[in-house]
């Protein structure tokens, strides 16, 4: 029993210490923004590897998720004779939840893990240390541009995911199952509110992008500089990102849409 408590205490202390390091890290990263903004080239390069390279997986996943929503939604709604609401159902699910959440999860898997591995390996090969000795702050030079790129990319990726998803739903619902085209769009436009749904969805994806980029970069920066350490850090990035995204999604949904 005592051993268990001791272990618990040790774990808690370790977690708090890590949280503290992560907070300082974040402050340092944010402070670096004013160094990065005058150098758009640094940002561009990262937008390419973080955003552009994630585009394909996001677009394809969005298309299929939208098509599945169209199919499943149609089966359920047509039982109630409400298949004209298909557009609304597809769009609401995508814009409010699936767009921000699934694209953030995919982003964590595609770009987050790559960021952790990249930073971890840079640490292991003394590149970060070397940069420090060249009087270049590695956080400003390496981490902050990647953080900004993540922050900018996620809402764009989520918007792409949702838009393509709606098109996929339209393709299946209207194109294959014969839902009325006008009703599909009209119901959707009636039901989806710009402020309440679209803006909140975008806010969600910005929050997810912030958290995923933070986790990924910190895990890389804080990793044990060995091949095993980097591989563990990469795993932690994906797992912690997924937990954070889903947990935060609940909290944000409750705050935005719910009356809790």
């Amino acid at each position: 029993m005592l051993e268990f408590l001791e272990l618990l205490g040790k774990t808690a202390r370790g977690s708090f210490a890590k949280l503290g390091r992560a907070t300082f890290f974040l402050m340092h990263v944010l402070a670096g923004i004013r160094e990065v903004l005058p150098r758009p080239n640094l940002l561009n390069k990262q937008l390419y590897s973080v955003g552009v390279l994630s585009f394909l997986i996001i677009a394809i996943s969005g298309l299929f998720v939208g098509m599945v929503l169209g199919l499943q939604g149609y089966y359920i709604l047509s039982d109630f004779g409400a298949d004209e609401s298909l557009g609304l159902m597809v769009a609401a699910s995508l814009v409010r939840e699936l767009g921000p959440v699934v694209s953030a999860l995919l982003f964590a898997g595609r770009a987050g893990s790559a960021l952790t591995a990249e930073i971890g390996l840079m640490k292991a090969t003394e590149q970060l240390s070397g940069m420090e000795m060249m009087a270049v702050d590695p956080i400003n030079r390496i981490i902050t541009p990647r953080f900004l790129a993540g922050l900018i990319s996620t809402p764009l990726l989520a918007a792409i995911f949702s838009s393509i998803g709606v098109m996929g739903g339209h393709l299946v619902g209207v194109g294959m199952l014969g839902v009325d085209d006008g009703a599909f769009w009209a119901q959707m436009q009636n039901g989806i509110d710009f402020n309440e749904d679209i803006i909140n969805g975008v806010i969600k994806s910005v929050v997810f992008g912030f958290v995923v980029s933070w986790i990924a970069l910190f895990e890389g920066y804080d990793s044990v500089p060995t091949s095993e350490g980097v591989s563990r850090a990469t795993t932690r990035t994906v797992v912690n990102s997924a937990f954070s995204i889903l947990g935060l999604d609940f909290i944000l949904t409750a705050l935005m849409f719910g009356d809790i």
Binding site: S129, M134, A135, V136
Partner: protein
């Protein structure tokens, strides 16, 4: 070369330095001086914290006690900006080279120039090619780091380290894992750069012969203390058994071949 009023002919002074990692004492009250314009070697077996010493000098680690003066400034009391300004005048050559793997050789050497100066690209090009010429790799400027051999990577890193014309360069194990030819090239380079550029060099190494060939003065570290110092000739004729064992590479001596253990026979005969 800028010198502050308090600096003497010692570019680095380590005074009563103590440093420990966890419970392990790495340095215990170590004092040493690095003379300006000379090649000074810090030697000792693996795991004696030679690299740690360089990181302490560079301000990347903080000592538990004692202080380190670089060019008259106490490294660990400088503000971040001042420390960074000091680091611009210190080059460091990491064991792995620490080249930035996402840029080619040219951009790696240009990196410190682009970060710290506002020179036009044409002048940067001239400087980069000059530095690469100095290490004999001008022809390799468009290669990526993963296309270089270990020795070439170290030479590129050396070109990068001298890009800002520093006052001193710290070499972390420059000879480890090199074939005889690249080893020879590096030995020659370190020596010639030191004289032609008027640098101060600090070499951390356990390769006795190569180091002894170019060093003006050698400190030998073991178990957190300085166990011997002097010119290579003085050390070769040192009466310390430990230094003799290290310099000659004997398998047994004051440092035993066997890790401390129970009696051999006992261990074998104890049934467990």
């Amino acid at each position: 070369m800028p010198t502050s009023a308090s600096s003497t002919n010692h570019i680095v002074s380590v005074e009563n330095l103590s440093f420990s990692r966890g419970t392990r004492k790495i340095f215990d009250d170590v004092s040493l001086n690095i003379p300006r314009g000379k090649v000074t070697a810090i030697m000792g077996p693996s795991g004696t914290g030679k690299t740690t010493l360089l990181k302490l000098i560079g301000g990347q680690l903080y000592p538990n006690a004692g202080r380190i003066l670089v060019d008259g400034q106490n490294v660990h009391q400088l503000k971040t900006r001042e420390l960074y300004n000091l680091r611009k005048r210190m080059g460091m050559l990491f064991q792995s080279g620490a080249l930035l793997t996402d840029m080619n050789v040219y951009d790696n050497v240009a990196f410190p120039l682009r970060e710290h100066t506002h020179l036009p690209e044409s002048m940067i090009r001239t400087l980069v090619l000059m530095k690469l010429q100095a290490v004999g790799l001008r022809g390799a400027h468009q290669l990526m780091p993963n296309e270089l051999s270990g020795g070439m990577a170290r030479r590129v890193a050396l070109a990068r380290a001298i890009a800002l014309d520093p006052m001193m360069i710290m070499y972390d194990e420059p000879f480890t894992g090199q074939d005889p030819i690249s080893m020879g090239a590096l030995v020659h380079l370190i020596k010639s750069l030191n004289t032609t550029l008027g640098l101060t060099s600090i070499i951390v190494s356990h390769d006795v012969h190569e180091t002894a060939a170019i060093a003006d003065y050698i400190y030998v570290l073991s178990e957190g203390r300085i166990v011997g110092q002097g010119t290579p000739q003085q050390l070769a004729s040192s009466d310390s058994a430990w230094v003799q064992q290290f310099m000659n590479g004997d398998a047994d001596g004051p440092v035993h071949f066997h890790y401390p253990a129970r009696d051999y026979l006992d261990d074998l005969l104890t049934a467990k």
